[in-house]
């Protein structure tokens, strides 16, 4: 008798527990979606970062045009030396 009570208790715990976890997380999905919509509408980020972070690897990735970089650096050195010559 006592043992069948225990099993009933276990089954109840499973049904309620699983049910509650799903209800809670479903609600969380709903409010999260709502929040995301509200935030993107009324308080969007100023987002220069993603564009910049994408641009840098794109330039650094293909290192085929070394000549251009070398030219730029050489020009900079020349300018620096010209300015600081006494």
């Amino acid at each position: 008798m006592a043992s069948s009570d225990l099993v009933t208790e276990g089954v109840t715990l499973m049904v309620f527990g699983m049910g509650f976890v799903f209800v809670f997380l479903t609600l969380l999905v709903l409010v999260t979606n709502l929040m995301s919509k509200v935030v993107t509408k009324y308080a969007p980020d100023v987002q220069p970062q993603p564009a910049a972070s994408k641009a840098i690897p794109a330039a650094a990735g293909p290192t085929t045009d070394q000549s251009q970089i070398t030219a730029v650096i050489t020009a900079a050195i020349h300018q620096y030396r010209a300015q600081h010559k006494k």
Binding site: S3, G10, L25, V29
Partner: protein, 432 residues
């Protein structure tokens, strides 16, 4: 000559019981697994070492003042203890049994007597009181985990929360398994014990320890060891189940790029979660409250120092105390019985079922959803951050070398943390 004999009688060699010797061997095994096999070393090293220290004969490091008095006290001390408890025999065993049954007021009186007689709490017992019995250590670790968690992938694809929910089925199925075994007369678990064992399936160490300390403190050692060992075994337990439940084509499925998530959304999310917990399930508030607090410190960007401390220095300090305290629960009389074997077995089953349910849920969602969902990310719904997500990523790459699932799997992974904390709250509410 007498003095020499005395020294020998009080030595470890003379006093050691076989149970203690076995437990020291278990401690050494845990250290071996941690150091040589790299199984969750951050936890298993302190746990293993604490376990060895707890079983040093006669030192009583893991015992309370009263237990020490019963164990080491002379006949007159035992007589006094028996007097207060109102029992006639001064037999240590009878005293322990009577002590377990009396009220808190009596406990206080007896503790006072033991201290007067010159007995003190063991060092590890004090650690246990401060870190686990108070609930502080698991909650502080949860705060640190919150400070390390990036909810970005979850916010970009909130549907993955369902995967975190499905994987919690392992927890409740294991509860059923534990009461089933009790009903059949194989094991002897109460419903509280069963609930605490089930939480192992959540694959979340601090949650398991928190729930066990509230519902079944006597099983804490076994539950913590099982939870952390299986977390280390995630890369071995999960892949066969995942392969078995998915087809080659499903594993190859590539997912669409996640949208960028704004900073404001990340700041609002922990607050939103906190309010939802406060409204619906106050019993999960300690766990999820600390988790949200840690995450808010990370995302708000104005308390960099606090966030840094909670995810590095503080979590390390707490881990040391937590590990030693869990180790203190590995004393022979509490660990060496059939129930421990049952816990280890049920924990494994819990893990397997959780993984399977996550994968099946992801398969179902893939059928219904407009954007493709690779079923492999479902298994990450058991928490075990970030190990489970890495396993999903690895299996995805095996099937299709261009298929990077890591970020997609992080969504269900952190959802699993929330899911198991909610499940823990439900357990505490119903059977606590």
């Amino acid at each position: 000559m007498d003095k020499l004999l005395n020294l020998f009688v009080s030595s470890g060699i003379y006093q050691i019981q076989w149970g203690q010797a076995v437990m020291i061997a278990v401690g050494l095994l845990l250290l071996f697994l941690a150091i040589k096999k790299n199984f969750e070393p951050l936890l298993l090293v302190p746990i293993g070492f604490g376990g060895i220290m707890a079983n040093i004969p006669e030192a009583g490091l893991a015992l309370s003042a009263v237990e020490n008095a019963v164990h080491l006290g002379g006949p007159e001390v035992l007589e006094q203890l028996a007097n207060i408890l109102g029992i006639s025999s001064a037999d240590p065993k009878a005293i322990k049994e009577a002590y377990a049954l009396t009220s808190q007021a009596k406990h206080l009186e007896i503790t006072q007597l033991a201290i007067d007689a010159g007995f003190n709490n063991g060092m590890l017992y004090n650690f246990y009181l401060v870190s686990i019995a108070s609930g502080a250590a698991p909650l502080l670790i949860f705060m640190g985990v919150g400070a390390m968690t990036d909810f970005g992938p979850l916010l970009a694809n909130p549907k993955t929360l369902f995967l975190g929910a499905a994987a919690q089925f392992g927890i409740f199925a294991t509860v059923l398994g534990a009461v089933g075994l009790t009903a059949l007369g194989v094991m002897d678990f109460s419903i509280q014990d069963a609930a605490a064992i089930g939480i192992i399936g959540g694959a979340d160490g601090p949650t398991a320890i928190y729930v066990a300390s509230l519902l079944a403190p006597h099983l804490l050692g076994a539950i913590a060891v099982a939870a952390y060992s299986y977390m280390a075994l995630v890369p071995m337990i999960q892949p066969p189940i995942m392969r078995w439940l998915t087809t080659e084509d499903e594993r190859k499925l590539a997912m669409t790029q996640l949208r960028p998530v704004s900073k404001n959304e990340k700041i609002f999310f922990p607050l939103l979660l906190l309010i939802l917990v406060a409204m619906l399930l106050p019993d999960a508030a300690p766990l999820l409250g600390m988790f949200c607090f840690g995450n808010l410190m990370r995302e708000c960007g104005v308390v960099e120092r606090l966030s840094d401390t909670s995810q590095n220095a503080l979590i390390n300090i707490v881990t040391i105390f937590l590990g030693l305290s869990v180790g203190s629960k590995l004393s022979a009389d509490k660990f060496l019985d059939l129930n421990t074997l049952g816990i280890l077995m049920l924990g494994m089953v819990a893990f397997g079922i959780g993984t399977a349910c996550g994968v099946l849920m992801a398969k179902g969602m893939n059928r219904l959803s407009s954007t493709p969902i690779n079923p492999l990310i479902g298994s990450a719904g058991v928490s075990a951050v970030p190990m489970a997500a890495r396993v999903s990523n690895k299996l995805g790459l095996e099937a299709n070398s261009q298929n990077f699932l890591l970020m997609h799997a992080m969504g269900p992974n952190v959802a699993g943390v929330i899911g198991s904390a909610v499940a823990a709250g439900v357990m505490i509410k119903f059977v606590g």
